[in-house]
Amino acid sequence: MIETKKISFGYAEKPVIKDISLTFEAGKFYSILGPNGCGKTTLLDLMIGHLKPISGKVVLKIAGSHFITNSNRQSIFIKNINKKDKSVKDTNKNQIKCSDVSREKDILSMSKREVAKHIALVAQNYNINFPFTVKEIVMMGRHPYISRFANPSKEDFDIVSSVMERTGTDTFAHRKITDLSGGERQRCVFARALSQDTPLLFLDEAFSNMDISHTITLLNLVKKEVKSQNRTVVSVFHDINLAAIWSDELIFMKDGQVAACGKTDDVISEEIIKEVFHVKSKVEHNRYSGVKQAYFQGYK
């Protein structure tokens, strides 16, 4: 679980983030929506400790031994891979038991390596200039767990190959990242973030270059982990309807502030879309999606 406490960022004459307090709980999928330049990416950067807020702080709540002993996590993770859904209930029980013991930590007081064991980010910019192979890139997700002079362990290799299989990146494992298309690269970077095996996953427009089939596959993949392993996903989206289908809660941002937040079906409305994006829309429950969707009018 991660919490922002009244964080602000920017300069006096041009604030980027104004006094945002939000709580992101375990086991939920959050989406942040808002127009270009409203501070979505900055908010993620502040939450991951990449930027330092000018006021307020970001607190990471580390729930008991579940997140602390990494080998324990990995074994749970691998068990889940092997047994698929059978062990899900056990894991949940385990987590509830452990979450009694929780510690609060200021994100800026943690080392980068420590943060990397808790939060993974799929960034917008996935440009890579050097011809690493896809498998090498995904293995880099294990960096925080491998000590300086050690080689990756068998566990690291197991996690990497399981992640690659589930993200479909195993089909081009030995190709060079510089030779891939934008969408394929994005899937690699996604796989790398998953191999970090963190309780929190931040997605910064992670699907912008992916085709719909891979987008749905990956969204289902992370949604499943959110539910089965009590993870938290915070995703910056541009597509309101995709966000609505997969998110438990939505956060609408405007000019560095939260315009509205709450349960997806409660928040999404014609009024808020008008307020935030300045466009007319019709919001209706869609039986096929099972959630409310927004419809727009074209040129007539």
Partner: protein, 355 residues
């Protein structure tokens, strides 16, 4: 991948062993060549005698291996070997520095001089020459080194500029700061040349780079820097892999990017600075060697670092041997590397395999 990684590292060990052998052979071969031709075996005997202290090795053994003249020993030990070793070490240092800069600046086109270190060194050296400090033999390299170090710290200071949209020490900030500082310094060098009068030739020759009349002191100084620099780089090799993907990615994968970048930046610049101060400005080694080596090892710095270091030392030693003993007149090594390196780089570039 376990197997794949293993075979890669095995292959690299093999290549490294092969290159080390090649380097050792080249050092001996290069010591044979010059105005006085000395046989391969004799060189080995002289070196072995000096290392073991057993001077019977240079004495008359049999008719096939007669005694070696004292002057030959002096030529090899006092003139040729210091030059050859300094050259090999500088080649290694420049290549290593190139690997570091290409990684940090996320740019396969960066080289040790991108941050203006060479301009700083040249400026320092020009001042020393202008003030006629060259009477005491350490002063030019010392001034060059001080100039390079000052430049580096000024570039780092600039790249921390408060309002810039990209974060401090980001590759964009560093490259821009480097270009600005180098431009100012080149104007400064031109000014020094203008006021230098008769000394202008000395400055120009120094800038072209040369390994002539290097001493064992040069060998000692450069190898110390190379060993320290090499060790630091190797310690941070995996972090450098991640940094080469971009600062934000590296940071979210657990690399303390600011600290590691700063350490590697100083290491790379010091390697370049010490190279420039002993031998002048030698271009293209730091740019080209990491490129060529990446064809063989791939971009993984753990493999790229050792192989580039060896390859850099072999290439520069070959170039120096050519200019010292094959060409009818010795031409400055900096010119030779640019004349050979430039077209090679064009060829690689045209093939579209810039990595």
């Amino acid at each position: 991948m376990s197997n794949q990684f293993k075979t890669t590292s095995e292959r690299v060990t093999k290549i490294a062993a092969l290159l080390s052998l090649l380097l050792a052979g080249l050092i001996v071969l290069s010591a044979c060549m010059g105005y006085v031709k000395i046989g391969f075996v004799d060189i080995v005997r002289i070196i072995a005698a000096e290392i073991t202290g057993n001077h019977n090795l240079t004495a008359h053994i049999n008719d096939k291996f007669p005694a070696i003249q004292e002057t030959w020993t002096a030529i090899v030990m006092e003139v040729r070997l210091p030059r050859i070793l300094t050259c090999a070490i500088v080649g290694a240092a420049l290549a290593l520095s190139g690997v570091i800069f290409q990684g940090i600046l996320l740019n396969p086109l960066a080289d040790p001089y991108t941050l203006g270190v060479s301009a700083g060194a040249a400026f320092g050296a020009s001042i020393a020459i202008l003030l006629n400090l060259s009477a005491s033999f350490v002063s030019i390299p010392l001034f060059a080194f001080i100039g390079a170090a000052f430049t580096l710290f000024f570039v780092i200071f600039l790249s921390y500029s408060g309002r810039s949209p990209s974060p401090a020490l980001s590759s964009n900030n560093l490259i821009l700061s480097g270009i600005i500082v180098a431009a100012i310094l080149s104007a400064g060098i031109s000014f020094l040349k203008y006021v230098a009068d008769e000394q202008v030739a000395v400055i120009i020759f120094w800038l072209m780079g040369s390994f002539a009349s290097k001493t064992w002191t040069d060998v000692l100084v450069t190898i110390t820097f190379l060993i320290i620099g090499g060790a630091i780089t190797f310690i941070f090799a995996r972090d450098l892999n991640l940094i080469s993907l971009g600062e934000r990615s590296a940071s979210t994968l657990g690399v303390d990017t600011k600290r590691v970048t700063l350490i590697l930046l100083i290491t790379g610049s010091m390697l370049a600075a010490v190279s420039v101060s002993v031998s002048g400005i030698i271009g293209f080694v730091g740019l080209l060697v990491p490129h060529i080596v990446r064809f063989i090892t791939g971009p993984d710095n753990r493999l790229l670092i050792p192989i580039s270091t060896l390859a850099g030392s072999i290439l520069l030693l070959m170039a120096d041997t050519v200019t010292r003993s094959i060409l009818p007149h010795e031409i400055p090594i900096g010119i030779l590397t640019a004349l050979i390196g430039g077209p090679v780089f064009c060829w690689i570039f045209k093939r579209g395999t810039i990595r």
